[in-house]
Point group: C2
C-alpha cells in the first residue's frame, strides 16, 4: 500500500439510492462509476443532462455537504443526427464519421463533391478560392502524443475554425482528421464555431485510420468524390445548470475555495475521462475533508454545465457571482482525464509562490513536481481566473488522454482506480492546505 | 536489416492500374494495402465482393501468374441493417451493438424485454425455461488473450450456438459480450447459426465495455429492460467466387501445392488482418517464386470466397475438385492476422515428419519452432484436409488478433510491415521446399 493511502480514515458508509459509497480513497472512483453507469452520456441541454444534475444533487446531499443548489442558464441545444460519409466509385466504401458539435445538417440528400486535402488549418487559410470552391475540404492534420497535451492546441484549430475558413473560400463542407492520438477507428467530436459573416457549412470528423485511408485514395484518384450526409438538429434555447455544493467554513465562511469539474459530456461515450473522473474527484474531496472536521474557509464544489459547448456554465457562473469574485480565494478544476498528477502549476501572486512551494513539498511523496506560474486552472476556471481569482492546476499525465477524448470509447473501464486515488490524495492535500490557511494568493 | 530479407532479389516492377508493386519483400504488404484501400470491406455476395474478385484476377495477371480463373458457387446473401440497443429507464442510454452475421431482423418496432444474464453458453444450456422465457438472453463470457488463440474456441460457441440454445428456452433475442480481447468499444460480429427445428431469434453482440456496463446496471436494477432493433436482410441466393491462380510446375505440373487465404471479409472494417494480409501474402508467394524460375510442382493460390459465412467457398472447392484431391500434395492457409510466424505445425503422415523437421531447420533463423502434427492448415484448408490432403500451419502470434477481429477497427494501419515480411519469408521457404521436392506428405 502506498503511503498516501494511509492519510484517509475510512469508516463512514453513505447509502445512496443504488450504490454503496464508502468515505475512503475509492470514493472518487465509485462516484465516477455511478455517474457513468447510471447516467452515462449527458450532452448539455438533453434529458440525460438533467438526470446528471439530479444525480449530482442527490449524491452531494448523501455525502453530507452542508448546502446543495443548482443555478440555471440558457444555452442553444444541439442534437447529433445520423451521419454517413461514403467514398464514391471506384473505391466505393464507407468511412467512420461523426458530426462536430454545433454543426448544421447537410441537405437531406447529402453533399456529393470532390475533395481538396490540406495538411493543416494554416495551409487552408493560405489556399486560393479556385482550389476550394464547391469542394469538400479535408484537413488531414495528425496529432502527436505528449504528457502535457501541448499538441492538442496545435491541431484543434482545424476543428474549431475549419468550417469558417473553408466557407470563406467557397467550400461546401469540411471534414477533418480526428483531433486524437489513437489508431482506433473512432471519430472524435468536439465543438466547432461559425462566424456571423460567413456561410455555415457542415463540419465533421473522420477517424484517424479513415484519414490515412482517404489520403491513400486521393493519391490514387485525385478526382474522387465523397457523399456526406448528417442530420443534426438545433432545436433552440433550453436551460442547463451548474450544480454547486458547499462545506461551510468554520472560521471564515465567506472565503470561498472553489474546486470544480464539468458535469456535461459529449454524447458518444459515457464521459468517464471527460469529465466523469473530475466530477467524482471533486465531489469526494469535500466529503472526505468534512469527515475530518469543518475546514476554516468554505469549500465550494462547482460542477459546471455545458463546458463542451463553449464554457457556457462557467460564463454564467462568472456573471452571476461577479460581485462576489473577490471572496473567491482559490479555484481549480480537474478536466484532463484520470491519469496521475505529476506537476503543480499555479497562477498566483508573486508573494504567494512560497506557499505554492511549500504545498509542492507536501505533494512530493506523490511524485508531483513544481511547475510554472502560468496555470489556467482548467477550462472553466480560466473564466474566473480572468476575473482575478488565483488558481492552481494539478496537472495530470495526458499522454493517453487524446486516445479517448470525445469518442465513444471514453468509458468507465478506461479509468485507472489507483491513478484516480493518487489524484484524490493530491487534491485533498491541496484543498485542505488552502482552506485551513489565511494565505492571500492574490498577493 | 534482418538476414531473411537478403534472400529476396528485388528487381522487377509490376505496374498495376493504381499501385506500383515491386517484386520484393514488401509485396505482401503492398498488395494488402491495395486490396483494403481500393476495395475495402467485402462481405461475400456483395458488390464489393465482386470488386474484390476483379481486383484479384487483375493483380494475379499483373504479377505474372500463368493461369488465373474464378469458380462460382451459390450462397445465401446476408446484409447488415442498422442496429440499436437502448437501456430503458432509469439508466436510459445507448449501447454499442452489432448484428451477428446471419441474424434475422427484429420486428420494426424492436424487442423490448427484461434481460437474463449468463456467464457462458454452458450456463445458458443448464438454465430452466421459466428463467429465460420471454426475455433477452445476455451471455457475458469474457475472453482472455493468448498467443495461439485457444480462448477463442472456448468463447465462440456463445456466438455460433447461443441463438439456438436461447430460443429453445423461449428467449426473444440474444445478445452476447463480443468475442474479443480489447477494451475498445467495438462490437465484434461473426457468423451465427440457426437450427431448422428451433425458432429463429435475433442475435447481436455488444462491445466489451458495454458488456461490463450492462453487468453493472443489472447488478443495480435486475428488472432493467432493453430495446433491441436490427434491420438485417436476407435477400436470397446469389453467386460468389473462389479466385484461383497458378504458377505451372516445370517437372510435375499435375501435382498441386495449394496455398490460400480468404478473399471475403466482414463488412465493418476493411478486412486487413482478416484476411487481407493473408491474401496479399499468398499472392506474393507465387509471384516471387516464379521470379526465381518455375517450381517443379504447380503452385496453386486459392483465394476462397465466403469463409466468414461458413467456409462456403472451401466447400464448393472441395466438391468441384473432389476427383483431383489426390493430386493435392500440400495445402496451407494464412488466416490469423499479420503478426510474426512463431511455430510450424503439420498434419502429415508419420514418415514425413523428417521432412517437416528439416523444413523447421530452414525456418529457425526466423524464430520459428517445431510444433505438433495436429495442424488444421487453416479454416478453409481444414475442409480439404478432411479429404486427406496433407497440411501445415505456419502459426502466427495471435495475441492481439482478437483485439481487431471482425470489428470496424480491422484496418490497414494495424498491419505491421516487418512482421508481414517475416511471414513472407517463411511462406517462401515452405512453399518452395514442397514445390521443388518429391516428398509424399501423405506417407
Ligand atoms: Zn472536459
Ligand atoms: Zn471535452
Ligand atoms: Zn478469417
Ligand atoms: Zn473472420
Amino acid at each position: 500500500m502506498k503511503i498516501w493511502l494511509t492519510m484517509l480514515i475510512a469508516t463512514v458508509s453513505v447509502n445512496l439510492a443504488a450504490n454503496e459509497l464508502k468515505l475512503d480513497n475509492s470514493l472518487a472512483y465509485k462516484l465516477t462509476e455511478s455517474l457513468t453507469v447510471e447516467v452515462g452520456a449527458r450532452i448539455a441541454g438533453s434529458a440525460a443532462d438533467e438526470r446528471a444534475v439530479v444525480w449530482a444533487e442527490k449524491n452531494f446531499a448523501a455525502l453530507g455537504y452542508d448546502k446543495v443548489w443548482r443555478e440555471a442558464f440558457d444555452m442553444p441545444y444541439w442534437q447529433r443526427g445520423a451521419a454517413s460519409l461514403t467514398v464514391n466509385a471506384p473505391f466505393h466504401q464507407s468511412l467512420v464519421v461523426t458530426a462536430l458539435g454545433g454543426s448544421i445538417a447537410t441537405p437531406a440528400l447529402g453533399i456529393d463533391s470532390n475533395v481538396v486535402m490540406f495538411d493543416s488549418l494554416e495551409q487552408l487559410k493560405n489556399a486560393d478560392t479556385p482550389r476550394v470552391k464547391g469542394k469538400i475540404v479535408f484537413i488531414n492534420h495528425s496529432m502527436a502524443k505528449d504528457k502535457e497535451g501541448e499538441f492538442y492546441g496545435q491541431v484543434v484549430g482545424a476543428r474549431a475554425q475549419g468550417a469558417v475558413e473553408a466557407a470563406k473560400l467557397g467550400a461546401k463542407a469540411i471534414i477533418i482528421r480526428s483531433v486524437g492520438t489513437s489508431l482506433n477507428r473512432f471519430a472524435h467530436t468536439g465543438v466547432m464555431r461559425y462566424s456571423d459573416n460567413v456561410a455555415r457549412i457542415p463540419a465533421a470528423a473522420i477517424s484517424v485510420p479513415d484519414a490515412i485511408q482517404l489520403e491513400k485514395m486521393l493519391a490514387l484518384q485525385p478526382n474522387l468524390t465523397l457523399q456526406l450526409t448528417m442530420q443534426n438538429k438545433l432545436p433552440g434555447i433550453v436551460k442547463s445548470h451548474n450544480v454547486i455544493a458547499e462545506i461551510t467554513g468554520s472560521k471564515r465562511p465567506d472565503e470561498i475555495v472553489l474546486i470544480s469539474a464539468h458535469l456535461d459530456s459529449w454524447d458518444q461515450g459515457t464521459g468517464a475521462l471527460d469529465d466523469g473522473a473530475g466530477v467524482g474527484l471533486v465531489m469526494a474531496v469535500g466529503a472526505l475533508i468534512k469527515q475530518q472536521g469543518q475546514p476554516e474557509r468554505t469549500i465550494r464544489v462547482v460542477l459546471f454545465g455545458n463546458e463542451e459547448g463553449g464554457l457556457l456554465g462557467a460564463k454564467a457562473y462568472a456573471a452571476k457571482h461577479a460581485a462576489n469574485m473577490d471572496k473567491h480565494v482559490f479555484a481549480s478544476e480537474s478536466d484532463f482525464g484520470a491519469d496521475r498528477v505529476w506537476r503543480l502549476d499555479s497562477g498566483v501572486g508573486e508573494k504567494s509562490l512560497a506557499f505554492i512551494a511549500e504545498l509542492q513539498q507536501k505533494l512530493a511523496h506523490l511524485d508531483i513536481s513544481l511547475g510554472n506560474n502560468n496555470a489556467s486552472g482548467g477550462p472553466d476556471v480560466s473564466v474566473i481566473k480572468a476575473l482575478g481569482v488565483p488558481v492552481v492546476t494539478l496537472l495530470q499525465d495526458g499522454t493517453d488522454y487524446f486516445d479517448y477524448h470525445h469518442t465513444a470509447n471514453d468509458t468507465f473501464d478506461k479509468v485507472n482506480a489507483e491513478a484516480l486515488a493518487q489524484n484524490l490524495a493530491a487534491w485533498l492535500i491541496t484543498t485542505k492546505a488552502v482552506a485551513n490557511s489565511q494565505v492571500d494568493l492574490r498577493q
